[in-house]
């Protein structure tokens, strides 16, 4: 053991990998500090504000809670179902965009991109209005136009929950898989074709299996997001009598104000996360098997899929319809009618009103909050993505001893519901000059979004064969040469995607940001998306439409005027 550690240290010194190691340790420290604090809180008695002593009572209560098993089962079914649906659709979309000759290339590239801009909670509300059993638009249309009396659709069911959250999981799957398909060594597929394999057969047996690490990375993230997601279970689950585990965590905070108990409940999620990660690590333990980017030069081959190309176009368009067009159209109408019910909805545009837009545009924090959130989100995306790549590089490319621990640390924040995590962060900053500043908010968002940057980089870096940097190491290169000249340029497609994703997510974060904002430091999403939280759906829809239009214009300008790629 001692010899291994010593030789590892020597190698670290020789290759100059002390820099990525220290960077990873700093990032890991920022993540682990609030996590340790909330874990310690789970070992304390009493509520917030009360004097505390160490105890195991919170854990005894959690493991003695007979109600948690059915809830846990619901959570796993819901999270796994949505993650499988979302990541699966995302993977297929990425393959269609990257590798097929589907017609309308420019349109096909854009269609999977725009739904990313729509916040999940907006999708929730739009789909509730569409799929509610009695008042839903679709059921009423079936009744009105086809005489179907049965309530065919039900937003308040497990299927409804999986459908809506699954749609929210598609962007991650798409952004994680696209770079993999774009940087694929075609010789592997060509060998299959030479052997007489058909395109679909090749896709199923060669292409997709090689994308397993990135797929698993996206699936894990979506699964963990599903486990701790609260909006869909609250808005769609409880009216259908479907209780999920995370509601126990929130009840501990909202009813008992006991962050220790909430954390103890969260530990169940941590255990599930660790099990999931162990499965991932085991599935990708021979990472060389998935390396598709090698030292050989090549050009990504577009596959002629024949008449299937029209079907793939229809598939992308259907996703575009479900992902943004239909829910967005519903929200636009809802934002412009006096109130929502089916009759009023169908009378549009004769009953058009613009008062909701007036209300939102006169929101006291709209302009300053939006400015703060845009500046912070840009900086945050850059820092987080870079740190995520450095940590993934440290794990997979340096030979320093014990770096695998970062695999868990880097993903840990995802196991904690945002409110629990933000309590830890508040305690970290309390009494320091950072408290009540935008810096504290920035660091909190860094901790919250680091897993996305890290898992994205980790999934992509596995696809780069080690022979590339090994060649550099052999020639005496230091880490900075390998990192900046080899790894980073090759990861460029996934970097764009991760930057885009984290920017969009941070721009609309409420859960983590809410405790870290302070009087006089407004953060756009916290106030704007509060319309959703207080149930002002018409104003929320108007705010969401304004927000979405700003983002769509920004993305379109970036894509067409500045030729930005966003992984495309």
């Amino acid at each position: 053991m001692a010899t291994t550690s010593l030789s590892s240290l020597k190698l670290v010194y020789r290759q100059g990998t002390i820099v990525p190691l220290v960077t990873s340790a700093v990032a890991g420290g920022a993540i682990i500090t609030p996590v340790v604090i909330v874990l310690l809180r789970s070992l304390t008695t009493g509520k917030l504000g009360a004097s505390v002593g160490f105890t195991l009572s919170n854990y005894l209560r959690v493991f003695g809670d007979r109600d948690i098993m059915p809830m846990l089962t619901n959570s796993v079914v819901y999270a796994a179902g949505a993650a499988a649906l979302g990541t699966g659709i995302g993977a297929v979309l990425a393959w269609i965009v990257a590798r097929t000759n589907t017609p309308g290339k420019a349109l096909v590239e854009l269609m999977p991109l725009y739904p990313i801009l729509m916040p999940p909670v907006m999708k929730n509300i739009a789909w509730i209005l569409l799929l509610a059993p009695r008042s839903g638009i679709l059921n009423n249309m079936l009744q009105q136009f086809f005489g179907i009396q049965a309530q065919v659709f039900n937003a308040f069911s497990m299927a409804g929950m999986i459908w809506v959250f699954g749609l929210a999981c598609v962007p991650l799957g798409y952004l994680f898989l696209l770079p993999v398909f774009l940087s694929f060594d075609p010789s592997l597929e060509e060998s299959a074709y030479i052997a007489g394999s058909k395109p679909i057969h090749t896709m199923l047996h060669i292409t997709f299996p090689l994308a397993v690490p990135a797929f698993l990375s996206a699936f894990i993230l979506n699964f963990l997001r599903g486990l701790r997601s609260f909006e869909t279970p609250v808005l769609q689950g409880t009216p259908g009598n479907i209780q999920v585990f995370v509601s126990r965590v929130y009840d501990s905070m909202a009813m008992e104000f006991n962050s220790g108990l909430a954390t103890a409940y969260s530990i169940v999620l941590v255990v599930l996360s660790v099990i999931t990660l162990l499965i991932y690590v085991r599935a990708t333990r021979f990472s060389e098997r998935y390396a598709t980017i090698t030292g050989k030069g090549y050009r990504v081959k577009v596959i002629d899929i024949g008449a299937w190309k029209y079907l793939t176009f229809v598939g992308v368009f259907l996703y575009f319809l479900a992902g943004i067009l239909v829910p967005f159209a519903v929200l636009i109408v809802v934002s412009m009618i006096p109130y929502f019910d089916y009759d009023t909805f169908m009378q549009f545009p004769s009953n058009l009103v613009l008062t909701n837009y007036h209300t939102v545009l006169h929101h006291p924090s709209f302009v300053t909050g939006l400015y703060n959130s845009i500046v912070l989100s840009v900086i945050l995306a850059l820092v987080t993505v870079l740190a995520g790549i450095v940590m993934a590089f440290t794990i997979h490319r340096t030979r320093a001893y014990g770096t695998k621990i970062f695999e868990f640390i880097g993903t840990l924040p995802l196991a904690f519901p945002p409110l629990v995590l933000s309590v830890g962060l508040v305690i970290v900053f309390l009494g320091t000059p950072l408290y009540n500043s935008l810096w504290a908010l920035g660091i909190a968002l860094f901790v919250a979004y680091f897993p996305y940057a890290f898992r994205n980089a980790s999934g992509s870096i596995i696809n780069i064969h080690k022979e590339l940097d090994e060649a550099a190491w052999v020639h005496g290169a230091k880490w900075r040469h390998v990192f900046f000249k080899i790894t980073l340029p090759i990861l460029k497609p996934s970097v764009g995607g991760a930057l885009f994703y984290i920017f969009i997510e941070a721009l609309r974060n409420v859960d983590v940001a809410v405790l870290l904002t302070s009087p006089g430091h407004e953060y756009g999403p916290v106030t704007l998306f509060d319309y959703f939280r207080v149930g002002q759906w018409a104003e929320a829809a108007a705010g969401g439409v304004i927000y979405l239009v700003i983002l769509i214009v920004a993305v379109s300008v970036a894509k067409f005027a500045f030729k930005m790629k966003f992984s495309l």
Binding site: A132, G136, F340
Partner: protein
Amino acid sequence: MIKQSTIAAGVIVSMLLCGGTGQAAEKSAKESVQKPPAKERVQQGASSASATAAAARAFEKVSKELYPKAKQEGNLIIYSVWDVEHLRVITDAFMKRYPGIKATYWQARNPEIVTRVLTEFQGGQASVDIVLSDNAPPVIRAAGAVMPYETVQKAVLHIHDPTMPVVSLQIQALAYNTKKMKPADLPKTWEDVANPKYKGLVALDDPMRAGPLSSMLAGLRDQWKDETRFNNFVKGLKALNVPVHKSTSAMFRLVISGEYSICMPALLHDVMEEKEKHTPIDYVKTASPVVFPRMAAIYAKAPDVNAAKLFAEWAISTEGQKVIDSVGRESSRNDFKSKTSIEHAFPKGTKPIPVTDKAFLEDPKTWLDSHVKPIFE
């Protein structure tokens, strides 16, 4: 640390006590508790005009005393559950009335407010002056993080708490969708909602989540003082076998959309706001309003104590109440008339159901576990 017994003894509920007639009064009487002591009633009934004048004088006096000190402090920091738009209007009016004091706010939900305040309290942080909310202040007080302050205008309040000034009321109403329910079919009281004929029509707030329905149950139990009646009511709600909702506001939207016909319960100011927009929503006037105090609690380590006291007094004054009313929030004064005041919104003689059970307010989970859970779950 505040002595709990002092708080319990000090909570005085001064209700509208005019004698009612007809069905409304009869129904209200059915839901109400025994009347407060005669002495108290007579005093209130006869002194409302003089109480108003006395409260105005007391406010002027305390305002003159506090303003110079508050101006010296220069700041006022509010944590609140109220909408940002409302907070902006209220703080702007306060700053205009008292130049030299800069008021800022942080808005979040009750669990977030409690978490933040108590974490700051444990960390010794002098971070906030006023917590302006409903559910949060009693919990914060129970942890010893509230500086007791009794308003000088207590005589004109519907609900008075000697440690935390009550600046507004949260009023629950039994709302229904006018397109879905005929007036003749409506429940007349809260108890009627548990009638099996409303099965499938009721959107029910989760009684175990310490939300509005939980508050109502606490208020009804306190008022009825009849365990059998209370248990039957909860059993009746359970027997409806309808799904429960964890978001009252989302539930209210579903009633408006026609997914459900009856909202158990809704907030009066939401109903009034929707009625003004000609939304197909109304409320049952014979179901007594459940009133929950919205307080301006002064934080134990408040850096600007005088500004905090001045704000609380100003918010209760007629001037402050006009501003609070202008954003659609209900007045806490019994001499203030507006569209959401109980006298205006409900028939003459209606007796509100106040939520003042200390055990519920300070530890809702334990209260619900002992009084509701065994029956409902």
